[in-house]
């Protein structure tokens, strides 16, 4: 078996930002032929940078390959490179009737359309599900908006962190007892959840179609993909009327269970000691200090009740050691412990290296770098980076020429008329 799992599936992706990009890349990694549709008229903010052409030298160049925005900054932006690979990139102006007609030809040859525009955008462009079903009756479309296409807030503007706020997750994220005002606004964990659920929705609909021949349009609300990941908090409220609060790094039934300072600048280790057997091993690994034999720490109940003191005593031991050393000493005796890593640790990590997680990729515009890989492995159909992150319109010739059978003259005309192209038009901000 050499054909990858989704080798017979063609996907059209309008995936933007993180959620959409992650979902389409997962399908692409598993062998689907993904065609990413972009345009030279509209710059997708946060997908290929904040703006198309940040002025060289004036804007902070972090986030761009080798800290240089280059001639075509949109081809050098880190997040696009991190989560878009194995896809064919085309451009098409969907605001003109001819663009829509070409798009429909592509739809007629495709299985799945993924889009995460605000709800209603596809309809306004004249390529909503009702229209496309006429073109390809068994087409599957999955639309992932913040709050879904139905319901009182369907028109609300949302970014990933808004999704987190209204899902209930943000209120739970933080130090125990802290003020809600001090929640870090930056992380967008919900994009992980929604991206993966987005891909799963497409595959569920595909499986159904394989059996029945029937396509469908799935209205996915990103918030609703997140709430099940808070299931135990929902259940505690529905069962006991209890409203969960942030617990920091602690666990309701396990102590010690925390993050401790180590030797070095801003270095930390996590430790979780789950059973009495592990507690005994943990004490011995620390050299059986006197405090560890005290009555108040002799049972899980006691350790939970005296957790503040316990954590302070443990930190006196960890602060003398580096995080990887703590991990080794405790793992040797069967206690869960691990470093709190930064990206450079992960790039050096012997485990990820042995598993071949990072792959060297040479990109036409961004040069050669080590790229993070896939989160699943298939024993018989290994997946890898077949196509580097696509440049804008890079595969116009392949898709329009080979798949749709257009002539060179025809494609030349489309380029002249700016229906397709490989650079954003000069007026695009």
């Amino acid at each position: 078996m050499t054909r990858p799992p989704l080798g017979s599936v063609r996907v059209i992706s309008h995936g933007t930002v993180y959620t959409g990009s992650a979902a389409t890349t997962m399908l692409a990694d598993m062998g689907a032929e993904v065609i990413r549709v972009e345009s030279i008229q509209r710059f997708p903010a946060w997908t290929r940078g904040a703006v198309a052409r940040p002025p060289r030298g004036t804007a902070p160049a972090w986030g761009y390959a080798d800290n240089d925005v280059g001639e075509r900054p949109w081809e050098r932006f880190y997040s696009f490179h991190g989560m878009n690979r194995n896809q064919y990139g085309v451009t098409l102006d969907l605001n003109r009737p001819e663009g829509v007609e070409i798009y429909k030809k592509l739809v007629a040859l495709s299985d799945i359309i993924l889009e995460n525009f605000a709800h209603g955008v596809m309809d306004r462009m004249g390529i909503g599900y009702a229209v496309l079903r006429e073109v390809k009756p068994d087409i599957i479309m999955v639309s992932a908006s913040g709050l879904g296409a139905e319901g009182p807030y369907k028109d609300h503007s949302m970014f990933g962190t808004n999704v987190e706020a209204i899902s209930g997750m943000m209120a739970l994220r933080g130090y125990a007892g802290d003020d809600m005002m001090v929640r870090n606004p930056a992380p967008v964990w919900t994009d992980n959840i929604a991206g993966s659920a987005f891909a799963f929705a497409a595959l569920a609909a595909l499986h159904y179609r394989q059996r029945t021949g029937v396509g469908q349009h799935v209205d996915l609300s990103q918030v609703e993909t997140v709430i099940p990941h808070l299931g135990e908090a929902v259940m505690d409220y529905c069962m006991n009327g209890r409203v969960a609060e942030s617990m920091g790094n602690r666990d309701p039934s396990v102590a010690p269970h925390g993050c401790y300072r180590c030797k070095g600048e801003d270095r930390w280790v996590t430790i979780a000691v789950g059973t009495e057997e592990e507690w005994d091993a943990f004490r011995r690994a620390l050299g059986s200090p006197g405090w560890a034999g005290e009555e108040r720490f002799s049972s899980m109940f006691g350790r939970l009740a005296n957790q503040d003191e316990l954590d302070a005593l443990i930190e006196q031991w960890t602060v003398e050691r580096e995080p990887y050393e703590v991990m080794r000493l405790l793992q040797e005796v069967g206690v869960a412990a691990g470093p709190v890593v930064v990206p450079s640790d992960l790039y050096r990590d012997p485990h990820l290296q042995e598993r071949g997680f990072f792959t060297e990729v040479t990109h036409r515009e961004a040069g050669t770098h080590l790229y993070p890989g896939m989160c699943f492995r298939f024993s018989k159909t290994p997946v890898g980076t077949r196509v580097p992150p696509n440049c804008l319109g890079e595969h116009n010739r392949y898709v329009y020429g080979e798949i749709l059978g257009m002539s060179d003259e025809e494609m030349g005309r489309l380029e002249d008329e700016h229906l397709i192209g490989e650079e954003y038009l000069p007026e695009v901000p």
């Binding site: 970014f159 964990w189 659920a197 709190v340 990820l352 961004a366 993070p372 989160c375 492995r377």
Partner: protein
């Protein structure tokens, strides 16, 4: 009624969170999932918080009840030869097997992929683990906290002078469960075409490092050579951005980018700010952020969350309430969409559960079934599906196999 995975049979050897969430997704969309638990004790999640009525009891864990809806439950001791034999019979006509033991366990039981593939060549075996089935960390011990710290998210969460923070609950495990469901269904699609299954290796650590968020953090380092700092809540990117106190709660406002400044001014109803030199350019606004927040903060505390959100949204400024979990459960939008499910369970009765992450319009959902009691479907599965007699069940029970 017909569901997406009505034709899919799953043998479920999972416990705790990541594996059960994977098989819950398969079961919730119609797969016949047979969850195999150890006789007597069952899935460890049965002993995890929260408990119905705060009463620790194997049938009353809210975590277990949530993670195991729509599954059938049997007991089987895989450490006995008879138990292994019965499992192979279940595998024979299954499409997918999902397990999340430590990687050495399945081979130790004589249930490695190669053995199971001789029983059923079409089988898709999906193994979920902390670090994957290979590599130097394979057998390390890690729960949610430890594994979360070994991905790129934890270091940047929390205040710069304090310890890094994990995310609430079991975020890494839920995410990996979803990724595993994606991989299992894709592999099933491939095995239907090829007539041959395969072994899928899903690692929590790699899920944390994968797309989108983890991969973005790693790529940022690959491109810049710089590790991130832990920024804390400081609104370094501009204002308004973050959680703000209102009269009766909190709102999250995402408005720091230049293109949202005019919307922000209209939202506040303060057109004079457009002419204020302190706020004339994005750079000036960053510089005078404290001045702006001195205007913004008191204005917000005079208004309710609902007022703030609706005034902001009227200007297409992304603002949302910061909900606590009770507010999520009672919210009119989620309820209008019919998100939550009501499920009746023989021990804890009728409760509201989190609903499905999406609905498939071609297969409107059927009434959901509750998580199985320990061994609830032994007779149905062993007699009905595998053909054992009731007398056989008695013998198996007496010898502790089920």
């Amino acid at each position: 009624m017909e569901q997406a995975f009505t034709d899919v049979r799953v043998v479920d050897l999972t416990h705790y969170v990541a594996g059960p969430y994977c098989t819950k997704l398969l079961a919730d969309y119609g797969a016949e999932v047979v969850k195999v638990e150890r006789p007597g004790t069952g899935d460890g999640a049965r002993r995890m918080f929260p408990f119905w009525g705060d009463d620790p009891h194997p049938e009353k864990s809210g975590l277990f009840l949530h993670l195991n809806t729509n599954k059938k439950g049997v007991t089987l001791d895989l450490k006995t030869p008879t138990g292994v034999e019965i499992l192979k019979q279940l595998v024979k006509d299954a499409d997918i097997l999902v397990e999340n033991f430590e990687p050495r366990v399945m081979p130790g039981l004589g249930l490695d992929y190669d053995t199971l593939a001789t029983v059923n060549p079409r089988l898709v075996m999906t193994s979920i683990s902390n670090f994957g089935q290979t590599g130097p960390y394979r057998d390390l011990k890690a729960g949610e906290l430890v594994i979360f710290g070994m991905g790129p998210h934890m270091f940047v969460e929390g205040e710069p002078e304090r310890e890094p923070l994990k995310y609430p609950g079991y975020k890494a495990q839920y995410l990996t469960g979803t990724n595993a469901a994606v991989a299992a269904i894709a592999a099933l699609c491939g095995s239907s075409a090829a007539g041959e299954g395969q072994h899928v290796d899903v690692s929590i650590m790699e899920s944390l490092c994968g797309p989108p968020e983890g991969a973005a953090a790693l790529m940022s380092y690959a491109f810049s050579g710089r590790d991130p700092e832990r920024p804390g809540y400081r609104r370094a990117g501009g204002s308004p951005w973050g959680v703000y106190r209102c009269k009766d709660g909190y709102a999250f406002i995402w408005g720091m980018v230049p293109m949202f400044w005019r919307r922000t001014v209209r939202f506040l109803g303060m057109p004079e700010l457009l002419d204020d030199p302190r706020f004339a350019t994005p750079g000036a606004r960053r510089e005078n952020q404290d001045d702006f927040e001195a205007i913004l903060l008191p204005w917000l505390t005079e208004r309710t969350v609902e007022e703030v959100v609706s005034l902001a949204q009227a200007q297409r400024l992304p603002a949302t309430p910061v909900y606590t979990i009770d507010e999520v459960v009672h919210d009119r939008h989620f309820n209008a969409r019919g998100f939550f499910d009501e499920i009746e369970h023989p021990v804890v009765g009728r409760l509201t559960y989190p609903g499905l992450p999406f609905r498939l319009p071609e297969t409107p959902s059927q009434p959901q079934r509750p998580a199985p009691l320990l061994g609830q479907h032994n007779r149905e599965v062993y007699c009905g599906r595998l053909g054992y007699s009731v007398e056989d069940l008695v013998k198996l029970r007496a010898s502790g196999v089920i």
